[in-house]
């Protein structure tokens, strides 16, 4: 129903959008909050905690955005979306930004009228199986039944992988992540496939997590990041540089704890980052202390990672590719100057 409504909005509401095409940043400032599309419940990325507050890496990107604009990480409303419904929700203007572990692909970047902004997590697709099956490699999976979520790159990659290796398989695709993992747990499938980070997250939901293992094979590149609509370059820049600033802050060693000292730093890079020198924030349509606000309220990229998916979380996923470029990973952001 939701997608039908979104489509109707897309058809009927276009007049208003086209004439105004009002800057999203102005709209956001006017309504007083950021409307952020997230997943329906993926531990580590976006899931409500026991008090109903949303937490996770994807969620924190939106909170950082709210902090940069309003100096308040709570001024954000979350719309939980299934993989299937996410793009329509963004196209129709139901949400301002889609921060929902979405893989950056050429197809999505061009045909849908949407833009990827920056990468917040470098992921790859993997497989989870029951240990009892005694499978050690993805290449031993010929003839297996695979559970996956529909409307994802996962669904396409798994088809490519099995075809390229001349293996037979059968896919059962479900609409939501929860249905998929339940079907896997009930034994409908031999294999559960998704991005590796999601495999770790979903494994936590299984009754006997230790009976299941994640195969070492990674069969695809899955750079995940937030998306915005085509046609509003200012908002595109704001979201993009929010991510870049978080990474730059980690690189310069600016954390929530040492922010007060760093504000007094004489390092020109830190001064530009925190807005004690220059007027870089204003160029984005924000205040000059926008990064300081984000660090104070949410933390830098490393802190966000550790708290949600790294050692500070139950997931405890190795940082791997997501380490800073200077520390052996590929997480790299253009300089703030």
């Amino acid at each position: 129903m939701k997608r039908v409504l979104s489509t109707l909005v897309l058809v009927a509401g276009v007049g208003a959008f086209s004439a105004a095409h009002a800057a999203v940043l102005d709209q956001v400032k006017a309504k007083g909050f950021v409307q952020c599309g997230v997943s329906q419940g993926l531990p580590g990325f976006s899931s409500p905690d026991d008090k109903g507050a949303w937490t996770g890496l994807d969620v924190d990107i939106c909170r950082a955005l709210a902090a940069a604009i309003f100096d308040d990480p709570e001024k954000v409303k979350f719309t939980p979306l299934s993989a299937k419904d996410r793009f329509t929700a963004l196209q129709s203007g139901e949400i301002d930004v889609l921060s929902r572990n979405t893989t950056w692909t050429l197809d999505r970047d061009t045909k849908m009228g949407l833009n990827f902004t920056a990468v917040t997590y470098y992921d790859g697709q993997g497989f989870m199986v029951k240990k009892a099956l005694k499978v050690n490699s993805a290449l031993e999976l010929s003839g297996a039944t695979v559970c996956t979520q529909t409307g994802t790159t996962t669904e396409l990659n798994v088809a490519d992988f099995f075809r390229a290796n001349k293996m037979k398989y059968e896919v059962v695709a479900f609409a939501t992540a929860d249905e998929t993992i339940k079907a896997y747990e009930a034994g409908r499938c031999d294999v559960f496939t998704s991005d590796v980070s999601q495999l770790y997250a979903q494994r936590l939901k299984l009754a006997k997590a230790d009976d299941h293992m994640i195969l070492r094979d990674v069969i695809s590149k899955e750079p995940l990041g937030p998306m915005v609509r085509h046609g509003d370059d200012q908002w595109f820049d704001v979201v993009k540089w929010t991510v870049f600033a978080l990474v730059n802050a980690e690189e310069l060693g600016v954390t929530t704890k040492n922010l007060a000292e760093m504000m007094k730093s004489t390092n020109p890079e830190v001064k530009r980052l925190l807005g004690t020198e220059g007027a870089l924030g204003q160029a984005l349509g924000l205040t000059n202390d926008w990064v300081a606000r984000m660090i104070k309220r949410v933390g830098n990229y490393g802190e966000i990672y550790d708290r949600n998916v790294g050692p500070g979380s139950r997931l405890n996923i190795e940082r791997g590719l997501n380490k800073l470029w200077s520390k052996g990973g590929i997480m790299y952001a253009p300089p703030i100057r």
Binding site: T88, G143, T145, D160, A175
Partner: protein, 395 residues
């Protein structure tokens, strides 16, 4: 509009005062307004989609779909086009609704008649069934069958075996698969001819009975035509139809014909749910036939069975058919709840996966609406035709 069947000419005068001309003018203006509004919607959407850089048009039908589908009646692979995926989904919807309509009708009639039975236990069981299935949400029932019933079956390696021929596990029911060798076609032709001849004999025998009152042993003849001759043909051509039995190899059974649990759960839920409503319609239809009809039949010496079959039901059908059409339409549309359990029906494959992969919401939702509309209109068209045939003919 003013009806001037009496032939009286309107008084001569200006067109403005002519009620006929005025009525036509108003109608034309209204049509023009509707068309203009519709056109502005289309134009608006087109211009704005273009401005936002969202792909438009129907070219995606020929692009490679790239995703797999669990169940397809026609040849389909990941390299097939979106157009092919569209057909696969459509056929899956037709399959589940077609079988569903037939089974729901049979079950619904049985329960509806049982509820009127003079057997206390039977009537109460039928009543309890109707109240139970009618008052629980359909999606809940689908989940019940899928998760609570079929989901608890053992895995492939612990399958329940039926004499080593058929197997039941949480991947579905695996049945022997018929393999057709040379000569199988002849058996099929004999079988089809037998069915056609039986129907012809049936019609002829009924006409003759109506005219002369003579009975004809058409049941026995049909048995010979449909079962006897094809069996003779089967052995004469050297038993060309054999069965391939499923075998457990690797992860799952290889070979054999498989019914996936998503299909089974959806079908059972749709049939039991809709049958509850049909049962009530049937009961209402039967109760609408005057009691005197039954009494008259009894007094003519008819036993309860023939009375029901020959006197009550044909009259009840006039009341039953129109609301029955609605139930058929409901069943077809409800089959789109398949999305909940991952059965690849039309809505799921097309308005779900295809929409998501292509991002062309407007075209796809429009086509989806058109397809369901066509299916529903065709169904009600057929039912209306049947209803006219069953309607009371005044003599």
């Amino acid at each position: 509009m003013v009806d001037r069947r009496d032939g009286a000419r309107p008084p001569a005068g200006s067109l403005v005062n002519d009620p006929r001309a005025r009525a036509i003018a108003v109608q034309l203006l209204l049509i023009a307004a509707v068309v203009a509004v519709g056109w502005s919607f289309v134009q608006n959407a087109r211009v704005n989609l273009e401005a936002r850089g969202i792909a438009t048009g129907f070219g995606f039908f020929e692009q490679t779909a790239g995703f797999g589908i669990t169940q397809s009646l026609i040849e389909y692979s990941e390299t097939s086009s979106y157009g092919r995926a569209f057909l696969v989904g459509l056929l899956n919807t037709m399959l589940v609704s077609g079988i569903g309509v037939v089974l729901a009708t049979v079950l619904g009639f049985a329960v509806g008649i049982a509820r009127l039975s003079s057997n206390f236990l039977l009537a109460r069981i039928a009543g309890a069934y109707v109240e139970l299935v009618r008052n629980l949400p359909l999606l809940f029932q689908i989940f019940f069958w899928y998760i609570a019933v079929l989901g608890t079956l053992p895995g492939p390696r612990q399958s329940l075996s039926f004499f080593g021929i058929a197997y039941l596990n949480n991947r579905g029911v695996i049945l022997p698969e018929p393999n057709f060798a040379e000569g199988a076609g002849l058996v099929g032709i004999v079988l089809l001819a037998g069915v056609a001849l039986s129907i012809a004999v049936h019609i002829w025998a009924r006409r003759r009975q109506a005219a002369t009152g003579k009975l004809f042993p058409r049941g026995r003849l049909a048995l010979i035509l449909i079962l006897g001759f094809p069996l003779v043909a089967f052995f004469a051509t050297g038993a060309p139809i054999s069965f391939g039995y499923p075998e457990l190899r690797g992860f799952n059974f290889v070979g054999g014909f498989r019914v996936i649990p998503e299909f089974a759960a959806l079908l059972v839920a749709l049939v039991t749910y809709t049958a509850g409503f049909i049962a009530e319609i049937v009961r209402a239809g039967i109760l609408a036939v005057a009691r005197g009809q039954t009494e008259a039949a009894y007094s003519l010496g008819l036993r309860p069975g023939p009375t029901l079959r020959l006197v009550v039901v044909p009259q009840a059908l006039r009341v039953i058919v129109p609301p029955l059409t609605s139930q058929y339409l409901n069943l077809t549309k409800n089959s789109s709840l398949a999305a909940g359990i991952g059965y690849p029906d039309f809505f799921y494959v097309f308005a779900g996966t295809t929409l998501n992969q292509t991002g062309q919401a407007i075209e796809i939702i429009a086509i989806t609406m058109a397809v369901y509309l066509v299916i529903s209109l065709v169904t009600s068209g057929l039912m209306n035709w049947y209803n006219r045939r069953k309607a009371l003919v005044e003599r």
